[in-house]
């Protein structure tokens, strides 16, 4: 598959939310500098503590009082490490969510050590495109925005390292008004012990507009979060 063909699987023309798919990791497909493979191509199972594999997603994600209708008004942000988030996104597609990759990290200069392995994300998108193709999604399926949590690795031991870490910014995601107009009332962030700083900064505006924010590390049941305090950027 060409880079364009892979992109079109993730961002099929005319479907809701696909305008937010960032082309950056797709553009790099076929131009990789490092040779390695992603061995684990199996989709992760989405299961939280005290739940069985056979539970419906609304039950799995269920916090007190969550009904199916409630989940229908939820957008998801998957914020996990590298290719893990890609796999998780495709697994979410199995539950009716459209995975929207918003990865925005670039490849490092050839020969240089880098702070983030953005290449692995592009490779995972390419590999997982075949899995995603098998899943039929509604045209207006709810979104699951995919982020690489490794994007925040910006510690440099010395100047000679290439810093290709990145943040997600408000302009990378739909506005709170757009989400509300689309019937989205809740945002569930999956991944990490707490919501990362850049995501939190974006969600302050969403919460002010009335969207409810939930978080789970991917194991515990989701809990509602208050993100009123504006964190500062790095």
């Amino acid at each position: 598959m060409t880079a364009k063909e892979v992109y079109k699987i993730w961002a099929p023309t005319g479907k809701k939310w696909v305008d937010w798919v960032r082309p950056v990791p797709f553009v790099g497909i076929g131009q990789y500098q490092k040779a390695y493979g992603i061995i684990n191509q199996a989709l992760p199972s989405i299961q939280f503590l005290n739940q069985t594999e056979n539970d419906e997603l609304n039950t799995i994600l269920g916090i007190n009082g969550w009904e199916k209708e409630y989940l229908e008004h939820t957008a998801i942000i998957v914020d996990m490490s590298g290719d893990q988030s890609v796999g998780y996104g495709v697994a979410m597609a199995g539950y009716g969510f459209r995975p929207i990759p918003v990865y925005n990290g670039t490849l490092e200069q050839q020969g240089a050590r880098a702070t983030v392995d953005n290449q692995s994300v592009g490779m995972a998108l390419e590999l997982m495109a075949k899995e995603l193709q098998k899943i039929s999604l509604a045209d207006d399926a709810r979104p699951a925005f995919l982020l690489d949590r490794n994007r925040l690795n910006r510690y440099k031991l010395e100047d000679s390292v290439y810093d290709n870490s990145w943040d997600v910014y408000p302009q990378d995601l739909p506005s709170p008004d757009y989400l509300l107009d689309s019937g989205i009332e809740n945002i569930l962030v999956i991944g990490g012990r707490k919501i990362s700083r850049d995501v939190k900064k974006i969600l302050v505006a969403h919460q002010k507009k009335g969207l409810k924010i939930f978080h789970t590390d991917g194991y515990e049941k989701p809990r509602m979060q208050l993100v009123w305090k504006m964190p500062s950027w790095d």
Partner: protein
């Protein structure tokens, strides 16, 4: 000047091609599509007029900055930051013949200025939009003509001025064949990388060795630039910088002063800072008293005064002295009340960080359905010669990050006629 639609049947493929073949990696900004559904077509006469004005403006800009660099005791009205005031002291060895000078002047069609054009600013330090000014127009011509062929309509003839071609010629004049060129940018931003990647690929195809890196990846010794990036160490033959100078103080690279006195070919050399600040007009009287004409600038830039002088006067907008991409400008009708009040509050708190500029009446162009678009037509100068166009359109008079990129085509045949 008119808008020509990208045929609906072609638009999705056109947008996809821009992403994958034309370095357009930011096609969406919040809820806005940043790829216009039109091309901006200018007449040959408009092209001649704008390119001539661009070259006149650039002559004045370059004469001004060279004079100011030799008379730094006069730059007070520019109110450069304390850090920059210290750093420009290192630029006494600046020789324009060694460096490549790139600028972009933002033109607007207007009602109330003789000649029908006003400029809002010069992007003096690190203008962007390279691929949009080189490949995007070609993709638009392909799309328009492909639709015409399928509808058995006569092809329309357009040509373009390719920024990439003009820049490459400028590089070849000043950087030895096969030389090592470092493309200095904020490596955390894909928006910056897309600009650099376009330039890098053009240079690489011409036989240059290209290195992508950040400001801290350049070291200086005996006024020569060296790359210190892992696996790419060694002397550089040129620096192509896309990191704004005023960001250096936040990035705090250890050896940044080297950029100011390096003899390694630079595009741009930090001498660009004199015209980058929106306070540049505040020094024109001094320049003219010393024989530097600023007549083209005066005829095209709306009256610009300091914030305190504008107090109580109608018809002025406020712009950050170091603003970029139109953000932070107080055009009331283009903003919601909250954003407008936020800007005005900041103007009140920090008047020295803003300038007041007489508001001009932008003439909007009409789209197919009668919708109106305001135009900002950026015109490049590269070492004094016109170097192509980068344009944006917006439904409001403020052209900012929410605006859409639009390719610029020139009516009639030419070297890029398709």
């Amino acid at each position: 000047m008119r808008l020509v639609p990208i045929p609906t049947s072609e638009y999705e493929e056109y947008r996809l091609n821009l992403m994958f073949d034309c370095y357009k990696w930011d096609p969406q900004f919040l809820d806005n599509n940043t790829v216009a559904k039109y091309a901006l077509v200018i007449t040959e006469e408009e092209h001649r007029q704008i390119s001539s004005l661009t070259e006149s403006l650039d002559r004045e800009t370059r004469a001004a900055e060279q004079f100011l660099n030799n008379h730094q005791e006069l730059v007070g009205p520019l109110k450069l930051t304390r850090q920059l005031r210290g750093d420009i002291g290192h630029m006494s060895n600046y020789n324009p013949d060694m460096h490549i000078r790139l600028t972009r002047y933002d033109f607007h069609p207007v009602l109330d200025v003789e000649g029908g054009w006003a400029i809002s600013e010069v992007n003096s330090d690190v203008p962007g939009g390279f691929a949009e000014a080189s490949l995007m127009p070609l993709a638009a011509i392909e799309s328009i003509n492909r639709a015409h062929i399928s509808q058995i309509m006569e092809k329309e003839a357009y040509h373009i001025v390719s920024f990439g071609d003009v820049m490459l010629e400028a590089v070849k004049k000043k950087v030895k064949a096969g030389g090592r060129i470092m493309l200095v940018h904020c490596t955390c931003y894909s928006d910056d990388r897309q600009v650099m990647q376009f330039m890098g690929d053009r240079l690489k195809a011409e036989g240059y060795q290209v290195i992508y890196g950040a400001v801290e990846h350049v070291n200086f010794k005996d006024k020569k630039a060296y790359c210190v990036l892992d696996g790419n160490k060694g002397e550089l033959d040129a620096i192509f910088r896309f990191t704004p100078l005023e960001w250096f103080k936040d990035i705090k690279p250890k050896r940044w002063q080297g950029y100011f006195d390096t003899e390694t070919t630079s595009c741009n050399h930090p001498v660009a800072i004199y015209a980058q600040t929106k306070r540049f007009p505040f020094i024109w009287d001094v320049l003219e008293a010393n024989g530097i004409s600023m007549s083209t600038w005066r005829s095209l830039l709306p009256e610009t005064i300091d914030v305190k002088s504008a107090a109580g006067r109608e018809g002025y907008i406020y712009k950050p002295a170091y603003g970029r991409v139109g953000d932070g400008i107080s055009i009331r009708e283009a903003l919601d009340i909250k954003e407008y009040e936020k800007i005005m509050k900041d103007v009140g708190r920090h008047p020295g960080r803003y300038v007041a500029q007489k508001k001009f009446a932008s003439i909007p162009l009409k789209g197919e359905g009668g919708e109106e678009y305001h135009v900002c037509l950026g015109s490049y100068a590269i070492d004094g010669a016109h170097g192509g166009y980068y344009a944006r359109v917006s439904s409001t008079p403020r052209i900012d990050s929410n605006a859409a990129d639009i390719p610029v085509l020139i009516e009639g045949g030419g070297s890029y006629d398709r």
